[in-house]
Symmetry: D4
Subunit: 171 residues, 8 copies
């Protein structure tokens, strides 16, 4: 599995790259192969449709789509494939990402998009990994190792915090 | 002009028909030919794209798209034609139409949708007529006649109202 | 596969059952085995944690959690397993489900919830099926058959609509 | 056509000029003549009414109105002409432009405003061009050329992005 | 003073009459003369402007304007007179009156509208009376008498409530 | 303790009684004495201030204030006592209770209000009991007994649900 | 009149002074006497009540109250006097002033607050002047002179703008 | 009492420490002992549950939980103890803290969270003190002393303000 490209990352415009890099980083950290593309639902509609239609055939198993404003990208891809599609509403424009959240999550019956938080670019990768984990036990193992590592780090930070707050406010 | 079909009305689902009927009625009242279709952006993406791509060729000059929730329909059509597209955000689901409004109006640069009010089905027809009026003087005349009629009716209602309120609260 | 229980449906309270029944119906229609439970994150926290912790072991591959208001259920389950968790924000209380949407989707890094629309109970089932489809080709086939059926039905409805609108407004 | 002034750009205050310049630039790029004015609905109501009333006579075919807060400008102009009016809700004040969006889009029956995104100043010009394109084939040609150019640029950027992300995260 | 018409009540459409009747009733109760009109800012713009321009001349001292959706009426009147204008945002359409609230209250510098609550039709009358009270001591007296009456009534209700709750839940 | 009146319930108007009855019922169920009053912050300001000022003296230990719209009641009471004040934002008017929520929770430094959910009338009583439980062990015992009872009931309902869903969709 | 203090300006905290200075400046420009105070509804409730109760007696005719967050100040003053109270919702905290807007405008029947825009500090002064203008003709004259001055300035700016945009985009 | 740790401060992540320090400072100022921990509801669910379950036993009487986004921390703690829990919704992510506010305040019946303002970290401490004051008279005394000090300071600032505004705008 480790050499396969299992995840497609698509984004609605060039400016989304800064946010979506985080998605790529987490997938790399979890050892999951991916490919990345700009594919605007409105300015490249035919390429977007082609990409989605051929995705399962080419071996992709999850597609992550990040877009802002009237964020139709995840939905436009979901319309052309029955693969699980993860939508990342990106903050952009003047509405703080609520527009993108509503445009991504409020999909009609039969064509769902698995939506994560506004700018939840890391979580899109974690969700892709959790989906893949039902098929690839090695990904489950990596996810569980990662969770334990996070837990250990937080416990350490918590201990440090207790000390700090105490030192600053000695009774 | 009067026998031509100049306006395409598309709606995202069967349940939008009740609302979009008003659009058809106003176009009929203004003597503008139209055709109506269900064309879900997510459940009929290829037919929707084909419809938009061929629209100008087939003589359409304005397309009105009504959809609710993650209302991608107007945007999906706008992606495939340079005709003016009017989007009607429809109330549906639990967010009162704000989701549809944001999904319709917050379009990216280069692919605008002319958005009207939530459930603004009559105004979609009036806007289509105003657009057509730059080319067809007869439509301009009908619009102006309609405005004057509305004005006269409101003046009458206002006079009736003055009387009513006075009678109920005589000093 | 067909006899296995692959999907867990949990809901925050008894009153969520009416909405979540739709999830069960769609899974049944797609031939996917499920189990259903009430498991309030706040009033049954230990049982909820136990359920999530043992889920993968017991053969579950996707968990669907529906809850309203401060909808912590999907997140509380996601905290105890690396299985993919689908969250359905349910309308309940006075905020139209926006509270449940935010509480479900805005998860911290490392613990994502795949969120669907407010009251998107059918789509939770479709998303579960799409996730399972990366492992079980038979589910992919059923999803694709269902999509084609939906398409055919919509095309028929569209044709009927064209006729109806024309008859009511003959030129 | 190319020497005619077909589009009027009006804005509610001096401070809107920075945003509305973009509208002028896109019209210039598409070879469409325009005129620009400050015309506050509230502080210059009579001049605004006069401007709108005489607009069609003076050869204007579309008016673009940009305003913030209780953005009445587009509506005030629409009240005095049956030309198509495009409203650009501008971000200004403390509500992020939602106030201007609602004030612009929620027009009463008979007096529509074709609303674009908050600060959608470029799209106001594209929409004006799409409206004019039903009468002037040369504008349709320019719009289509522009779309193809945008498509080519995005395809190139997408290819560059694929390379970049790969180089940073070599497997 | 008591025979003079001091307050003008205007409303954006016929359907606003049910709400605005309350305004008339409270003015009547306080013995303040008024006149009432429909005067749509968008469908009767010239009559609305004329009405506002001549208002002070004709003896009006406060104007109350009630309108829904893109509620420009209060602002359109304020643009033509320096009399104090009270705006009542009316619930109408699908946004619960937030659109009308923003359109009424977010006025630009120099042209304020004294805004009351959504559907605050009674309070519009009380506010008009409070404004008039700085000139007419008799109105101040009536307002103060009314407040004392309200206070006495509430105290009585409170006592009744204490008893009721106690009887239903005896210890 | 059981005969003492430890909790004051105040509400902004007569119409809030239907909602606030639930608060009284839960307190009764937990064996906690209370008194109930109407005390509008705006229409009975002096009585409200007096009530708050004397509350601790008269033996009250928690005050629960329910109010809608610009819900100042909890804050107005908090301004006059250092007792813990619980605010219940009530749905009323056209904003679904968000106005009351913001007016209740967004208090300035030094004068907090312990805010519960919109219409969270039962929870106001539970919170009062939890506060009192730090002083009265018997209330802690009753709260814990109540929680266990709720848990048992939910487990039973969950089992019934599992059966029901299975019977309706037998495989 | 010119030496009298007719307007009281109160603000909820020290930090509101920067915003409320604008109110004082506009009153000064219009030659209207004022006094200014900090008077927190929650941290100085008795002084606030005293201030409101004695206001009419001491010759005040309008009170302007600016406050942020759970902005109860205007309402707390309105509860103790029948003078017209103008509320300025101030942006402060994390909700952009919507909390202050709702807390200021959504007042109960009988105790209205004349609300202006979020941070509408200049307009609070203009509204006070418009209210006073029904009693003091000299203030009406100054308001009308100010409006004409504004109009002339805007016309000049509009002409400059037309030139500028033309020079930058010569055809 | 003064040496006891009565208050537990928990926060969802390391980045919340900057905000929550204020809580610790106010408690210190009021002479109330506390302990502080990071305890993510989603990344440390078992430790969070253990902490809550043992809290009363270990002598804690109030727990303050600060968290952002889908802020489940306060609710997760409330699920495991009948102690009073104070929730501080923290601004974090792109929704300005409204997500955290809804996730904290909209709790189901039986498991309330005493919610303070978004980023209301100081008020969380004041509320904890007010709760403790029903049991520890010394805390009541300190709270009342603090309120009087605040009042004196505000009165001084108000006097300074009156002078300043007058000097800048001499008549």
């Amino acid at each position: 599995m480790s050499n396969d490209i299992l995840v497609g990352i698509v984004m609605g415009s060039e400016s989304d790259m800064i946010a979506m890099k985080k998605t790529a980083e987490v997938l790399t950290e979890l050892g999951i192969g991916y490919e990345a593309k700009i594919s605007s639902a409105h300015r490249m509609p035919d390429l977007t449709a082609d990409y989605a239609r051929g995705a399962r055939q080419r071996g992709l198993e999850v597609i992550i789509a990040g877009a802002g404003m009237a964020a139709h990208l995840a939905g436009a891809i979901a319309a052309h494939t029955t693969l699980p599609i993860i939508g990342v509403p990106l903050k952009s424009g003047e509405l703080g990402g609520v527009d993108a959240l509503y445009s991504t999550v409020q999909m009609p019956t039969g064509v769902p998009v698995a939506t994560v938080a506004i700018n939840g670019t890391a979580n899109a990768a974690y969700l892709a990994a959790q989906i893949l984990s039902i098929k690839y036990p090695v990904i489950r193992d990596r996810l569980e190792a990662k969770r334990e590592k996070t837990l250990r780090e937080l416990v350490e930070k918590s201990e440090k915090l207790s000390l700090e707050l105490r030192q600053e406010h000695p009774e």
